[in-house]
C-alpha cells in the first residue's frame, strides 16, 4: 500500500472511530464494489447481498474502536462481512452445512473455448470452491481463516484453493497457448 494511501486510511479510521459517519463512508466507498461482489458471490442473490453488506457496515462502524491496526481494516471488514453472510445463509437455511462431498469436478469435465473472464469461470466451481476462491481473491483471507470460517481443515482449503486457482489460471491463459 502506498504511504499516502496508508495515511489517508489511518486518518479516516481515526475519525470514524470518533464517530464520523462521513469518514466511515469514505473508508467504505474504497471497498464497496469489492464487498458487494464478495457478498454477491457468497449469497447468490442481489437483495440478500445488499442486506449483508448493509449489516456488515453497521457492525463494522459499531465495532470500529476495537480495530487496532489500520492496515488490517480491509481484512477485518471482509471478516465481518463473511460472518454476516454466513449467519444470513444459515438462517435462511439455504446452505446450512457446506458439504465436503460436492466434488463437482469442473476441472475435468469442462474445457472452455471462449470464456475469458474469471466471473464466468467462477460460476463453474462448486459452491464450496467458489466460496474459498471468493474469500481468498476478494477478501484476501488466509487459508487458515477460510478454514476456520467454513469449518474445514486448512490443508483442505489450501489444496482446494490451489486446485481451483490452477483451474482458473489454466483456462484464463488457454488462449495464449502457442500454435505451431
Amino acid at each position: 500500500m502506498e504511504k499516502t494511501e496508508q495515511k489517508d486510511l489511518k486518518k479516516n479510521i481515526r475519525m470514524a472511530q470518533r464517530g464520523s459517519g462521513e469518514a466511515f463512508g469514505a473508508l467504505y466507498a474504497a471497498y464497496a464494489p469489492e464487498l458487494y461482489r464478495f457478498a454477491l458471490w457468497y449469497m447468490k442473490d442481489e437483495d440478500d447481498a445488499a442486506d449483508a453488506v448493509q449489516e456488515a457496515c453497521l457492525l463494522a462502524f459499531r465495532n470500529l474502536k476495537s480495530l487496532k491496526n489500520a492496515a488490517a481494516f480491509k481484512s477485518w471488514f471482509f471478516k465481518i462481512l463473511s460472518n454476516t453472510c454466513k449467519t444470513a445463509l444459515s438462517k435462511r437455511n439455504r446452505l446450512s452445512v457446506v458439504s465436503l462431498d460436492d466434488e463437482k469436478t469442473a476441472y475435468d469435465a469442462a474445457y472452455f473455448d471462449d470464456t475469458s473472464d474469471a466471473d464466468a469461470l467462477l460460476s463453474l466451481l462448486s459452491d464450496l470452491d467458489r466460496q474459498i476462491v471468493t474469500m481468498a481473491v476478494l477478501g484476501g483471507f488466509t487459508s487458515k481463516e477460510i478454514a476456520e470460517h467454513l469449518g474445514l481443515k486448512s490443508g483442505t482449503v489450501r489444496s482446494r484453493l490451489s486446485r481451483a486457482l490452477a483451474f482458473l489460471k489454466r483456462n484464463l491463459t488457454e488462449e495464449e497457448v502457442l500454435a505451431i
Partner: protein, 689 residues
Amino acid sequence: MKKKRKQDDLNFVQAHLGAAPDLPEAIRPENIVQALTGQKQKTPVRKTVRRAVSLAVAACIAISVTVVYRASVYAPHLSADAVTYKEVGTLMAEYHRAEAIRNSFSSFSNFGIRKTADNFYYETDGVSAMDEAAFFGAEENVAAAPASTEKSSAGQTAVSDHAETNTREKNVFEADIIQTDGRYLYLLSGTSFRIVDTLGGMRLTGSLELAPETEGDAEDGVWTDTSVSGFYLYHDCVIFTGTQYTYDHYYGSGKAFVSVYSCADPAQPTLTRSLLFDGNLLSSRLTDGKMIVVTRYYPDTDKVVYNDYSTFIPAVYEGDEADYLPEDCLYLGNAECPECFTSVAVFSPDGGDAQIARSAVFGRGGDIYCTQDTLYVYHATYDSGYYFSKTFSGGVATNILSFDIGGDAPVFKTKGSVPGYLLNTFSLDAYNGYLRAATTYDGKNCVYVLDGDLQVVGQSEALAEGEQIYGVRFAGNTAYVVTFYQTDPLFVLDLTDPTAPTLKGELNLPGFSSYLHPVGEGLLLGLGRGGDENGTDGSAKASLFDVTDPENPREIGAVRIPDAWLHEDYKAFVDMGDGTFLIPYVRYLDTVETDGSGIEVYSYEHVSGALRLRVENGTLSLEGSYDVSRENGETPRVSFIGQTVYIAFLESWYSDITLCAFDGASFTQTDTLTLDTEAAYMHAYAYVD
C-alpha cells in the same frame, strides 16, 4: 515461496474479474453514511502490554571461517536415460505441435512421451499430468537451518544454547525465515531481512532489502516480483534462496537465485556472490558444505527455436554470462511433461567462483526429499487411466527421480514410480539402501519399499481403507503412519524385511496427529487435532505415544487445548534440548454477542504464541505458553537464546513483525521490538506455499 506464488495466482484471477457490479441504491456510500446516523460505537476494553528490558545475554563476536572448496567435475553419462539437446528439441517440438492440435480440437485430452530403446513415442489421450504443487499445495520447503556459526571470542562467554530449527533429515539443513547464532536473531519477512542484536535487550542492527527498488513498478506492462524462500546461516554468511519473477502483462517467468551476503559485520551485510538459475526454485538444501539447488524451468514457448539449444536449455548466470547445462548432463525423466526441465545444481556457497556442477532431467519435478548422499525429487501425476494402465488402474501416481549428490557433482541415477500420492517430505525415507514411501491412493494407504533402482520390492497391506494419511514418520526399520476419518489409527509397521512390510500394531484414538517427532527410545510425540468419536472437535492436541512394543502402541500422555491450532509446519517446531519443545500455536477466543437491538456483535481476540511442552519420565505436560494477545494474528516462528524465548508475531500478513521476548522460566514478556518491514509478510503466516 508458495504463499507468494499463490498471491500471484490470486492477483492474476483478480485481474481477470469482470467489471464490478453496480452497487444497489441501499448500499451506496452516501446511503450507508445516512444509515449510520445515530449509531453508537462500542468501546472495547484495552489491554496494556508490559514493557521491560530483558537481561543481557552473553556476547559473542564473529570470527570468520573460510572454507575453500573447489569442485567441478562433470559426471559422465551413466544412465540409459541420456538425451541430447537435439532429442530434447525434437521432443519439445512434437509436444507443442500435439498441444496445438489438442487445443484446436478442444478436447480435454493430454499427451505423453516415452522413450523405448531408441524410439520416441508420443501419445495423445495419454497422460494427464497435473502439477503436484498446484494440486496438493506442495510447498517450497521453507525450513530451518541451524546456525553453523563458529563465533566466539576471548573474554566473553559464548551462548551455546540457542534454537536450531527442525529439519527433515539430520545434517541436511533447510532454508528458514528465522534463525539465530546465539546472539543475533536473523529474520526474513517477505523480501526484508533484519538482524536483531539480543545482547542487552533487542536492538535492530542490520537490515537488507532483497527486492530491487523498482519492484512492482510496471514499465510497459513489465515488472518484477521477488520471492525469497528462506536463508541459511553458514559460517559468517547468510545465503538467500528464492525466485525472481518477471511479468510481462501477467505472463511471468522466473529465475531462481542464490545470493550470498557476508555478515561478518552484522550492521552491514555485503553481497559476495550472486547466482541466477533459469526456472523457479523448487527447493534447496545445505549439507556437507555443499549447496543443493533444485529448479524447474519451462522454456518460453514463444521464444523456443527447436534447433537452437540456447533458447530452451537451462543456464546458470553469474554476472551476465549464461552457462548452459552441458549436454552430457541431460537425461530423460518421467516425460509426461516434455516441456520442462528439472535441474539440480551443486556448489560450494563460499568457494568464491567455484564452478557449479549440474545435472538435469527433461521432465517435471515437484517437491524434494534429500539425504546427505541422495536427492529425491517427486511429484504426483494424475493420469486418465491409459498410460499407467499396465500397472495401475488409473488414478494417482508419484513419480520419483533420484540424483546422487554424494560427490562434487550431482549425477542423475534413476526414476521410478509408486501408486498414490505422498503427504509430504516425511512420506519418503531412505534407509539401508532402500527408499520407503507411504502413499494414499483411491482410499487405500500403503507403505512401499523401493530398491536403489527405484523398483518396488515390497508393499504393505492396505491400511485403513477409506481414510487418508495425515502423518508419517519412519524411524529405522519402523514406520509410523497416522490415518484419519473419524478417529485416528496410529499404525506401526515393521520394515525389517524390505520385501514384506508387515503391520505390527495399531492404536485408535480420537483426533489425529499430523506431525510425529521421535523423543527418545520408544517414544513419539504427536502433534495435531483433538477430537471425539465423531471427528475433530476444534481443539489442538499433543500426544505422547509409547511404541516400545510395536504390537501394542499406547498413548501415555496428552495435552488438549480447545479452539486452537498448532503450527503445522515441522520447521516451526523447536527442540529446546532440555526435554522441552516449543510449538507456535494460535487460539481463537472470538465471541459473538447479540446486543439489545438484536444485532450480533463480533469481537475478535486471538491469543498466539508458543506452547512449551515437556516430555519427562514417560509423561507429557504443558509447561506453559508464551502468549501475545491481539484481535488477530499468528506466530509463524519461535526461537530461543539461552533462557529467553522469542516470538515472531504477525498481526496480519501485511503488518510488521513484532518480536516479543519472554523470560523462559516465568513466561512473562520482557521486551518488544517492532520491525519496520516493507509491506511484507512472513511466508509462514498461513503456511507457505
